[in-house]
Symmetry: C2
Subunit: 427 residues, 2 copies
């Protein structure tokens, strides 16, 4: 089938406007490790996909999936050891305050659980989030998105400007003073909820502000923010859907930005493509949530989720993928930073581990975002066999977020393509 | 591991109150076809699970799952033929007004999409549902649940008493007049939304009112209800998560109760345990939804969902499971109806295909619901090797809903156990 006829049939049966990447969409038919292959057999180095964290078509995951689906896959109102073992193992990846887990199928569902858990525990409804975030697509969770773009906040949601060094909310401050400036904005959001009758239940953040554009967060902001939240009677929710599972070279994004969450939400990489997500917290928080809601999720807490989730953790540990993420990511970031002084269009290079953002601007002095250049680069890099995308509140950050099996050699190949693409654009 | 220590670990790592079946919970380790096996090797005939519709551990599903996960499983912003083919095949299972599909991972997510689709198309927020329904666990969808139990409805939700012959909303009416009585209640709910400022967007029903207790619906009610909804500018959403996929001996529950929906929601059996759900409607409705929301779901519309979803449809058609559901279900229901005159505790026997409810009452004359008897029967049947549960707005309906591969021989064995259990109770 030609790409054109597939596009036409896709529009008919999935509706117009189902999102697609690239000006000429890719027809991908096969994956292996960090590579994807299109219908013509062309190989692409995948520098976008965080879901297949242990690699496309990972054989250990396939084997675990097939074995469990061929043995038992049933809902969670029977006892099953697998899901209990998996929950135990997940809690062990956090500090002692994370004790129990509620499983679900998507990041959206897990964030729904987190918000409900915080609201039940505090008896309040108000949620504070950043003004450039995305936490999911249900009606309740979607209220947290699009606030900087002028979406009117719901009465039970207030936002604060996300913390960053590159375009600070107040210019020309020392970093310590900038922290205070952001904390003031956070306090304002909390007070707004306390005074409008909703009350304050929780702060929810992606712990590395990924959708915001992977900012360098002023040192110490998140630890102080967590103190302020708790002093106001609220809970701290760390959305680790993008930032967790060794993405940053550490297990969790909250280790990078330096805080201890009350509730941790995980999703995308957990099942290497199997729908699997989790909301983890103290046993007390989970008990209160379960007592109030009797939460049940047909497909979640299943033997299949457990078996696949365990296999993913096994491969991460066996193959040292956290260390790989840290090492390859650091080398890649350093190499990109070297290129910054040579190219006025590179405003900034940020990130940790295998999650790097290259901020494209009109020029380094004005810092005016240049989203069309980021889009153009993603399209040209795709033509050269490297899959990236663009992100950030201005859409001008080239987003590099490969499977955790991405190697130094892959990075070298990418850097050559990156240089060639920049040269092409700069004419 | 003993059941006791597994229970204790489960409470610790999943939290207290994660729902479990039976007074002594079952520790299930293996499944095959219509059978489940516990840790001691005891076999149970599964008369509860609708998710593994083509049978536990179905080899065709396992093979399709492993093959696709071992080839490619990636998000939907690349082109992939599998998901387009699956969407096309799904639409072909409905009439011509169902043209396009939005995939998601759970029934909750699919109902979120349906409500949002209806609200976008109509520009109104108000949803009418039955007073005994359940459509999912997100905050928005959960507003539709628990209304008969006195949960205060949200301003954008109004309910009507679910239609039934057994305990009609107005006693002693001819069936045609009873239809009018229920339609009046539906009109009241619509008018309440039109007058409170929310406006009327949609009626959502499980097409066979499964959670309500599988009532016999007064003849012609649903067709008239759909007319009234459309005359009021609203859309009709059929939640086929429980009622679809040949459960009733027909492909869709709306064929049983006799109406044509504008939006169809499917879930549970679609992936035989793989998280997979869908919202299907006219292309115009789907286009409007996509234009307004740019809906994206990380794990949905994946090659894995497509491959597994196709395998399930293949097995249903190859093995004649719709016909099996119709024939075995009809025989089982007839046999249970035969028992009704002999047992005062059986108030009613209802259902279609392999979805049968036995309403347990104090006595047939008073019709006073007897939920403790239904629970007792489910526990005793479990001890005899047959897995059922209880359902309905009073919790007094013994719920029989086996995998579609359930056979005449399985039904015969169940009937013997059912008789023995009744004798024991009436002892």
């Amino acid at each position: 089938m030609t790409t054109e006829s597939l596009l036409a049939r896709r529009e008919r049966f999935l509706g117009a406007g189902a999102p697609l990447f690239y000006s000429k969409p890719l027809h991908i038919v096969r994956g292996e490790g960090a590579y994807l292959f299109d219908a013509d057999g062309k190989r692409y180095i995948d520098m976008y996909n965080n879901v297949p964290c242990v690699g496309h078509a990972n054989p250990n995951v396939v084997e675990a999936m097939a074995r469990q689906q061929g043995t038992l896959n049933v809902h969670s109102r029977y006892l099953h050891e697998g899901i209990v073992n998996f929950a135990e193992r997940l809690t062990q990846l956090h500090g002692p305050t994370i004790e129990s887990v509620v499983f679900s199928c998507s990041g959206t569902e897990a964030n729904e659980v987190a918000l409900r858990m915080a609201r039940i525990a505090t008896g309040k409804r108000g949620i504070v989030c950043s003004d450039g975030t995305y936490h999911g697509n249900s009606e309740t969770v979607a209220k947290l998105s699009g606030l900087r773009r002028g979406q009117l906040p719901s009465p039970d949601v207030r936002s604060f400007p996300f913390p960053e060094l590159y375009r600070p909310v107040v210019p020309n401050l020392a970093e310590a003073d900038l922290v205070e400036a952001y904390l003031d904005r956070l306090r304002d959001a909390i007070v707004a909820l306390e005074t409008n009758g909703e009350g304050f239940a929780a702060l929810i953040v992606c712990s590395i502000f990924a959708n915001e554009g992977l900012p360098d967060v002023p040192q110490g902001f998140m630890a102080r923010a967590a103190e302020i939240v708790r002093a106001a009677g609220g809970l701290v929710i760390s959305d680790e859907v993008q930032s967790g599972y060794c993405r940053t070279g550490r297990w969790w994004g909250y280790e990078v930005t330096g805080f201890t969450p009350d509730i941790v939400v995980t999703g995308k990489p957990m099942g290497n493509g199997l729908p699997l997500s989790a909301t983890a917290a103290s046993k007390s928080l989970v008990d209160q949530f379960r007592a109030k809601t009797r939460y049940f999720n047909t497909f979640a807490s299943s033997p299949l989720q457990a078996a696949v989730g365990m296999a993913v953790l096994d491969v991460i540990e066996r193959d040292g993928l956290r260390e790989n993420s840290a090492q390859v990511g650091a080398a890649l970031k350093a190499a990109l930073l070297e290129r910054k002084p040579r190219c006025a269009a590179i405003g900034d290079v940020r990130g940790q581990g295998l999650f790097v953002g290259v901020e494209m601007v009109k020029d380094g002095a004005s810092k005016v975002p240049d989203p069309s250049r980021a889009v153009d680069m993603a399209n040209r890099l795709k033509d050269r066999g490297f899959l990236t995308s663009n992100a950030g509140v201005f859409g001008n950050v080239l987003k590099i977020r490969p499977p955790l099996v991405f190697s130094h050699s892959d990075a070298q190949q990418f850097l050559a393509a990156f240089d060639a693409t920049l040269a092409e654009i700069n004419g």
